[in-house]
Every structure is written in C-alpha cells, then in structure tokens.
C-alpha cells in the first residue's frame, strides 16, 4: 500500500502549543547553563578537546547560516568563506591594533562580533543585490568569483593606514579572546534566529522561493527581497564565525578563506540535508570530527575522508536528514526533489 502525504495545510507549520514565555525562558536558561559549562570546560577540559569543540561551534554557525541561503532559500552560494573572511579580518585587525585589557575584553569582543557580522552583512548586500538576478549555476559561479576576489585582495593589502592587515604573510599574534561560552552563545543565537525566521509565517516565502521562484513571484512574494534577506542574514553570521575563528587561533591566512573553505561549508549543508537546520548542526559536527577520527590512518586519512564523502553522496544523496528536522517530524516541508 502506498502511503500518501497528508494534505499540505497551515497546521503543518504550527508548533504544539508551548507558550512563548516557556520557550524564551528555556533558551535563557540554556544561556546560563552554557556559561557554567564554559567556565568548567575552560578550566578542566583537555585543550585539544576544547579546541575541537570550539571548531565545531564555528562550523555550526557557518553551516546553519549557509543553509539559510543554500538549502532553505535555494540560492546556491559558493562564496561563504568570503563573508567569513570579511568578519575575520575586521575582528582580527581591530583586536591586533587595540588589544583590550581586563574587564574591557568581553565588551569589546561582543562589539567586535557584531561589527564583524555587520561588515560581512554589508558585503552580503554588495554581492547579493547585483548577483541575485542570476540563477542556479551562474549564481554559484558569481559568488565563487566574489570569494576569490576577497582572498586575492586580502593577499595584496599589507596595511590600511596604521592598521596592520598582513598581506600574503597573514596576520599573526591576534589576542586570543574566544572561549567556549562566546562560541556556543553565537551558535545558539544563529540557530535560534534562523529557525525562528524560517519556521514562522514571515519565513514561508523563503521556502517558496526555493521550490519555485516563478510561482512564488506570481503569488505576490517579493522574491528579490527574500533572496537578499537570506544573503544578508547568512553573511552576518558568517562574519560572526569569522571573528570567532580569528581569535581562536590568533592567526589569519588569506589562503584559508578560499574556494576550498567555501566548499567545506557547502558539504556540511548538503551532507546534513539541504534545508534541515538540525541536519546542518549534525553534519558540521561530523565533518569536523571525521578527520580527527581518521587520524590513525595517517597519510591515508584524507583519502579515506574523500572516499567516505563520495560513498555518502552515492548511498544517501538527500543528506543525513534529508529535508526533515531531527525531532519535528510533523513539520516536514514539501519533500519535493528538485
């Protein structure tokens, strides 16, 4: 017997009736818990594992923010690392120029995260408005070109005024201010913002643009607005992730933000399932951990990594979670294969 999908109705989008204050309270509680976990981890956890966790946190921000552009709005972008680079360099250059002391550290760091995000968002507008007229592969190529331009420019600039940028040698000895709490707070905010944005009445046009742009426009959706909005929000969080990664290792290398990095983020989105936020989180963790797990294989490590990737795409092309979320099975959206 074939099972048919239930009719596509508005109730599919409705959440079970959990009062708003309870959700918000739980999220605030989560922030407090994060604070305490962060305190404990910073003191007791092995630096190797802490570093790995922080990389996962950054990967989550990148994957979820790209998912908004790529998976949810269906605009194939290959330049996400470019936005990340904008944020990373804004954060890195300012921190290196004026390293804060004592109590000023968290305040300045928070400010820098927002500033880096805004700079990347501005870049998102700059790139998005002209290129979003393009579709599919052409958009991918244009964003790829943008990402490459960013790395070439960063390779060439030695300094802006008295601010050191580093050029092709990279920017080194940036004060290390990232910690567990900041990274996962940013990740939490990113996930909540994207989830609330797309699983709300205001967010349905994002999916509409992905499923059929022409039909969406015919139904009165301002497609350009939603595409640019996805680009700007996605770029903002990529910028935040950039600031975090700049202050995690203390070193910035323009080559690290090239095409390969963008591809890595796209892989997380596709592997997790385009359009699935929880899928992106899962894939971000898996793809960050996988090279570490394979460390025992030594020189064959990345070969096996690539083989696993190909096998996963061959055996499960829709990604780990497909179009679904990890727990909201009722909220599965149109499972239309494109």
């Amino acid at each position: 017997m074939t099972q048919t999908d239930p009719p596509f109705t508005a109730t599919m989008f409705q959440r079970r009736r959990v009062p708003g204050w309870a959700v918000n309270g739980a999220l605030l509680g989560l922030v407090v818990v994060l604070w305490f976990i962060g305190k404990a981890f910073d003191k007791n956890l092995d630096p190797y594992y802490l570093d790995l966790l922080l990389h996962i946190g950054i990967a989550i921000i990148l994957a979820v923010s790209l998912n908004l552009i790529n998976g949810i709005t269906g605009q194939f972008s290959l330049g996400h690392a470019g936005f990340m680079a904008v944020g990373a360099y804004v954060g890195g250059v300012i921190l290196k120029h004026a390293a804060p002391q004592g109590a000023a550290v968290p305040v300045m760091f928070l400010g820098l995260m927002i500033l880096g995000g805004l700079a990347a968002a501005a870049a998102g507008v700059l790139v998005g408005v002209p290129t979003l007229r393009l579709r599919g592969d052409y958009l991918a190529i244009a964003t790829l070109g943008f990402g490459e331009i960013i790395t070439v420019v960063l390779n060439q600039i030695e300094s802006i005024g008295s601010y050191e940028v580093g050029g092709s040698a990279g920017l080194h000895n940036i004060p290390i201010t990232t910690n567990f709490f900041w990274t996962f707070l940013a990740a939490l905010i990113c996930v909540v913002v994207v989830a609330r944005l797309v699983y709300s009445q205001k967010g349905r046009p994002f999916f509409a643009v992905r499923e059929d742009e022409i039909a969406a426009a015919a139904m009165g959706v301002d497609t350009t607005f939603y595409k640019v909005a996805a680009f700007v929000v996605g770029a903002f969080f990529a910028g935040v992730a950039g600031v975090l990664s700049a202050t995690l290792s203390g070193n910035l290398d323009p080559a690290a933000f090239g095409f390969v990095r963008s591809i890595e983020i796209v892989m997380m989105v596709v592997l997790g399932g385009s359009g699935s936020i929880t899928g992106s989180i899962l894939a971000a963790a898996v793809l960050t951990l996988l090279p570490e797990w394979l460390r025992a294989l030594e020189s064959w490590r990345l070969v096996i990594y690539a083989l696993l990737l190909i096998l996963m795409m061959l055996l499960r092309p829709e990604g780990l979670l497909g179009n679904r979320e990890l727990w909201w099975t009722r909220r599965r959206l149109l499972a239309v294969e494109r």
Partner: protein, 310 residues
C-alpha cells in the same frame, strides 16, 4: 610595441592551455549540465602521468620525435580511462538526482584525487620538476627596431600553441562531421529526445568525459614542462579554466576556446601593464571580468540566451 607583442604571444600560449581545460568543462556541462569540479584534478593527473612517462623515457634515450608523442598519447589515454571511471562510478548513479548532489560528488572526487596523489606512497605533496626532454629556448625571434630586446617565442610556446590548435580543429571535425559528434550535439540539445531517437546516451556521455579528460591531459603535460608537477596544481588552473568556459558561454565549444584565449591574454596583459605594486591584483581582475560578464550577459560571449519556461 614589442613588449605588447611579447605579452600577446605569452598570453596566447597560456590561454591555449586554459582553452584545452575549458573544453572539458564546457562539453560535460553541455551534455550533463554538471560543473565537473574534478576536471582540474584530471588535468593534474595528466601532468603526473606525463612526468612519470618522461622519467621512464629519459632512460631509454630515444629521439625526441618518439618520446614526445609517447608522453602525450600515454597521458591522454590514462586520463581518458580516468574520466570514464569517474563518470561510470560517481556521476552515472546520480544522474537522476538533484544537480547539487552530483556537484558535491564531483567535489568529493576532486578531493580524492588531490589527497591520493599527495600521499607520499604515491607521489607526495612536494612539487617536482619534469625531466628535461629538450631545452626550452626561443626559436622564433623578431628583431625589434632601435636595439630593443627582440620579440621571441620559445619552442614550448610553439608546441603548446600548435598542439592546442590541432586538437581544437580535430575536435571540431569530430563534433561537426562524425556520427558520434552529431549524437553528442543531440544529447546536449535535449537528452530524452535524443534517447528516443536511438542514441545510446550512456556511451555518448562516457565519450564526452573521455574526450574532455584527454584534452586536459595534454594541457597538464604542457604545463608540467612549463612549470612543475604537484598534486594541487589543478585547483587554481581548474578554476581559471572554468571561468574561461563561462566567459565564452558554458556549453559552447567555440566559446571555451575564445574564453580560454581571452583569459590568458587578459591575465598576461594585466600582469605586464598594471603598475608595480598592483600586478598581484591581476588574478582578482579575471574574476571581476567574470562577474561583469555574468551580470551583463549571463550566458557568456557565445552562449545562446535561453528563454525561461514556466
């Protein structure tokens, strides 16, 4: 003026290599609508094969007119097999899946090839120099007026240009004059209708991959002689050739040639004429041109505009 002429020759010679790689991108895109990200790495494998063959041949001390064809043909054959295997194992099972899936698989194949050859048991990450088969020296030289340096063309430039043009003529003969070429054009026009007309789609697609890979192998061997061989050489060169394909109009075979030559010219001219501190920006300029072309004429210089169907 003679500097300009010299840049023109250098640009054409580099552009011919871009054109060879771009042809592979454009043919595959024509039949499968797939951006084959592994193509740059097939080019790298071509260079590695050329290097290994050259190492074998140098021991035999055979004359150049035997050595060179063996190196080129061997690399072409090896890469054709590789292209066939990649298509058969990785892209064929995903043909009816969303295009993004095939794209990610292509990236996976590219990662696989890069990392496989970086493995010290196979090739290793360090760049290696091709054994010296012949001395690269200027063979054509046009004296310039007023005692300035003459405009020269090295034997390698000549080989790469001649090879590229011969191969392009052969390819256009193949595409325009043979039955297989007709089938190829039919498939790139519309796959399902071509299948209804009795064309063996799978075989046509395989042939497309083999042809593209063989052309990339020639480009790889030429670049191996000009620069050096390393596992990551396909990345940048691949992206640039891809940009060239888009510039000329992806899916269009003459477009890929035009795009490749233009790309080489733009790059060398910018490197030569941008003021001192800014010549490093010439790479960015190539992409800037790309974005401009996409915005003004998204289908490229020779691509046909496609009407949108609802």
């Amino acid at each position: 003026m003679h500097i300009f002429l010299q840049q023109l020759i250098n640009g054409l010679s580099i552009g011919a290599v871009y054109a060879l790689i771009a042809l592979g991108y454009t043919m595959v895109y024509g039949v499968l609508k797939l951006i084959n990200f592994a193509h740059g790495d097939v080019y790298m494998v071509g260079a590695v094969l050329g290097y290994e063959l050259a190492r074998c041949m140098i021991g035999l001390a055979a004359p150049l007119y035997i050595t060179l064809p063996i190196i080129f043909l061997g690399a072409m054959a090896g890469c054709a097999v590789l292209g066939f295997v990649i298509e058969f194992c990785c892209y064929r099972p995903l043909r009816h899946r969303p295009r993004l899936v095939a794209l990610i698989t292509a990236i996976g194949v590219s990662l696989l090839l890069e990392n496989l050859f970086q493995n010290p048991h196979l090739f290793g990450a360090a760049p290696r120099n091709m054994p010296r088969l012949f001395d690269i020296k200027p063979i054509i030289s046009i004296p310039a007026a007023g005692g300035a340096a003459p405009v020269t063309m090295s034997n390698l430039d000549l080989i790469s240009l001649c090879l590229c043009f011969v191969l392009m003529i052969a390819l256009s003969w193949f595409v325009l004059r043979t039955k297989m070429g007709l089938a190829l054009r039919a498939v790139s026009f519309r796959v399902d209708t071509a299948a209804l007309m009795g064309i063996n789609i799978n075989w046509v697609i395989s042939v497309t991959f083999m042809l593209g890979s063989a052309l990339a192998a020639v480009a790889g061997v030429v670049d191996a002689m000009r620069y050096h061989v390393e596992p990551m050489m396909g990345l940048v060169q691949g992206i640039k050739a891809f940009v060239a394909a888009v510039l000329g109009g992806i899916g269009s075979i003459p477009g890929a040639v035009l795009g490749g030559l233009l790309m080489g010219l733009v790059e060398t001219l910018l490197k030569g004429y941008l003021p001192g501190g800014y010549s490093g920006y010439s790479d960015a300029a190539a992409f800037f041109v790309l974005i401009l072309v996409l915005l003004v004429r998204p289908t490229g210089l020779l691509g046909k505009p496609v009407a949108e169907k609802v």
